[in-house]
Amino acid sequence: MKKLSMVLVVVLVLSFFAGCTSEEPAAPATGEETPETVEPVDLALWEQMDPVAQDVFDQVAADFMTEYPNITITRTHYETEELRTNFQTASLAGQGPDLVYGPSDNVGLFNVSGLIQPVTNILEESFLATVDENAKKDGFTSGEYWTVPDINGNQIAMLYNKTMIDKAPETWEELVTMAKAVQNIDANDPDNSTYGFVFNEKEPYWFIGFYNGYGGSVMDADNNPTLDNDAMVQALQFVKDVRAKDGLGIEGMDYDIPDSLFKQGKAAIILNGAWSWTSYQEAGIDLGIAPGPVLPGGDNMTFYSATKGYMISAEMDPAKTEAIRTFFKYFMSAENNAKFALANSQAPAVIAAWDLPEIKDDELQKASIATIQHTTPMPIVAEMRAVWDAMRPELEAVLYQDKAPAEAAADMQTRAVEGVATIRGE
């Protein structure tokens, strides 16, 4: 059985290639859109997409390759960290892909190392004009655009189970009251306990929402860390008080525990990112989505937003220019872009996609657009890594070791300054 299917696959592949070459002399029938290059072109793409988005990509790519039989797209999946290291390694050896797809926070790093080129080198103005300016700005540094963004968002929002909470709380005080009303924790019987409010309390990507909400900002104009300030102290105090004062949450909450609880209908409110929304609906949760509430003595929780998109390798063979233009025109058409947006439940980056009915009438898309108003773009410079690394241990020390927020803020700054110096090679 297995052997048979293998043979079938081989035969199919062979006949595909045979078909390609034999049809070569024949005039293309699809009209003027077909590129002049009939030479077979292989486009290698390395991506960090969520599983759903990978499926969508494969479908769109299959259609694409039927329409443009001379272009083959090879997609390779990597995790966030691996995409970064493998792309660096491969580029050094001259074996990198032509295109890299991933979050915009790689831009600073790849650009400083000279691994990618400005997208304006390859793509025409007329094409780039179809992409949302705000999304494009997320890939702008050193005076150039480095990405073709396809979705915008990745933001964390407040999610609530509508069977437990009837309307989204707008302030933290409201949230505490509502969450407390449904919370029912029996330490000896966690299986029959219900939690009012849970979130990933250890992870800076969540924590930053509180820091921003208190008016904090992680770096100055020269990308030097600015973490030792009142906003940081307030944010650390807030996150500590969630359990200590307001009696919500569970000690040591990481990503998976809150996620599992919310999926099982055992948590009423969770803070989680756009990537997770579909999975909660699939788990049968009646999902409500709203911006994070107003913090006590602060503003709304303000999480980061970031685009995901394509970068073009500095090593890309110029002979592939035409094929890459064709690729982008196809994948970034309003219809196809909408498919990716829906799969990720994040806003499409192509302006024309916003008016498509499938986007306009989609609940998650509406929620995405509503919550993205309360976000701020995540810095894409390489130094950001040092900020993240500095935050985590201090955040944990405040949460679990009773470290004073003011002291933690000062130490966080010291760590970040050291880290930035290390990254800059000083």
Binding site: R75, T76, A93, Q95, P97, D191
Partner: protein
């Protein structure tokens, strides 16, 4: 009558247990082994539990192994919806080849180190150990550049070479150590009978070293079977992915299909268990030196 019963009991005992062991000792041994088995199996049951749950729930708030709403859907999807069988096939090819090559190279090298005295012997042996001492992450880049130069990217051979290199040092030492326990007198008498050194090695020493060969094979197989970092760098085409790479490709940054992932991980361990069972007959006595001296 009573006497008879005691005899029956004793013959039962002697058939299945050491002659001199008291029942208390036997019970104690079983108790210890039982505890260890629970310790090794329990985490696996956890993985099974995740695989049986719908909706990718990584955590359950109770200790129940089979959830009330259990489903085999994840196993179905692991087999039919992802390329698990393809990855399994690729991994099997690479791991078996690695094991065969590593065992043959190591057996021959280990034999030389055990039996001959020659210039550079100790240095050579240390060399094999030393190669394991440099932290892996930093070897990756040069190894990759090298494989690119040799044109081995996306090829099984590109994995076979580094995997063999990973498995060889330990295997050489393991086999050398085992050959050391085989008395030289066995070969000497074969030489007197006129056998060539190679024939002696092949006919007399190798059969005696079966337990060590089996372990070396298993070790080399496992090191290739579970290797991830090198494979991830060398293999980029979907049709050549190995199991670990394939499994990880199912992960999103936060969103992972834990159910299918766990089901696939369990299916993955089946070939290893089969291999282990089939190799383990070499590990259960019967082939000791005592047996051949006859």
């Amino acid at each position: 009558m009573e006497n008879n019963q005691v005899q029956v009991r004793d013959s039962f005992k002697n058939r299945y247990f050491e002659r001199n062991d008291s029942w208390l000792k036997i019970i104690l041994i079983y108790l210890l082994l039982l505890i260890m088995c629970v310790v090794t199996v329990y985490p696996m049951l956890n993985i099974l539990s995740v695989a049986l749950r719908p909706a990718d729930n990584l955590f359950q708030m109770n200790l129940q192994i089979v959830p009330d709403n259990y489903t085999l859907e994840n196993f179905r999807r692991a087999i039919f919806e992802i390329d698990l069988l393809l990855w399994l096939r690729n991994s099997l090819i690479i791991s078996v080849l690695t094991a065969v090559i590593a065992v043959s190279f190591s057996a021959s090298a280990g034999y030389a180190f055990s039996r001959y005295r020659f210039t550079g012997r100790k240095t050579g042996m240390m060399m094999f150990l030393i190669t394991q001492m440099f932290p892996g992450p930093m070897l990756l880049l040069p190894m990759y550049i090298l494989l690119v130069k040799l044109g081995l990217v996306n090829q099984f051979l590109g994995l076979l070479v580094p995997y063999t290199a990973t498995a060889v040092p330990f295997s050489v030492w393991m086999l050398k150590g085992y050959f050391d326990t085989i008395p030289k007198s066995l070969e000497e008498s074969a030489y007197i009978d006129g056998a060539s050194p190679f024939l002696t090695f092949y006919r007399i020493i190798l059969p005696l070293a079966k337990p060590a060969l089996a372990i070396t094979f298993l070790f080399a197989f496992m090191s290739a079977w579970s290797e991830y970092i090198v494979a991830k760098v060398i293999l980029t085409k979907p049709e050549v992915l190995t199991l670990p790479v394939g499994l990880v490709s199912m992960q999103g940054q936060f969103n992972t299909q834990w159910g299918v992932y766990s089901a696939a991980a369990l299916i993955t361990s089946i070939p290893v268990v089969i291999l282990f069972i089939s190799l383990s007959r070499f590990l259960v006595g019967g082939l000791t030196l005592g047996g051949v001296k006859g």
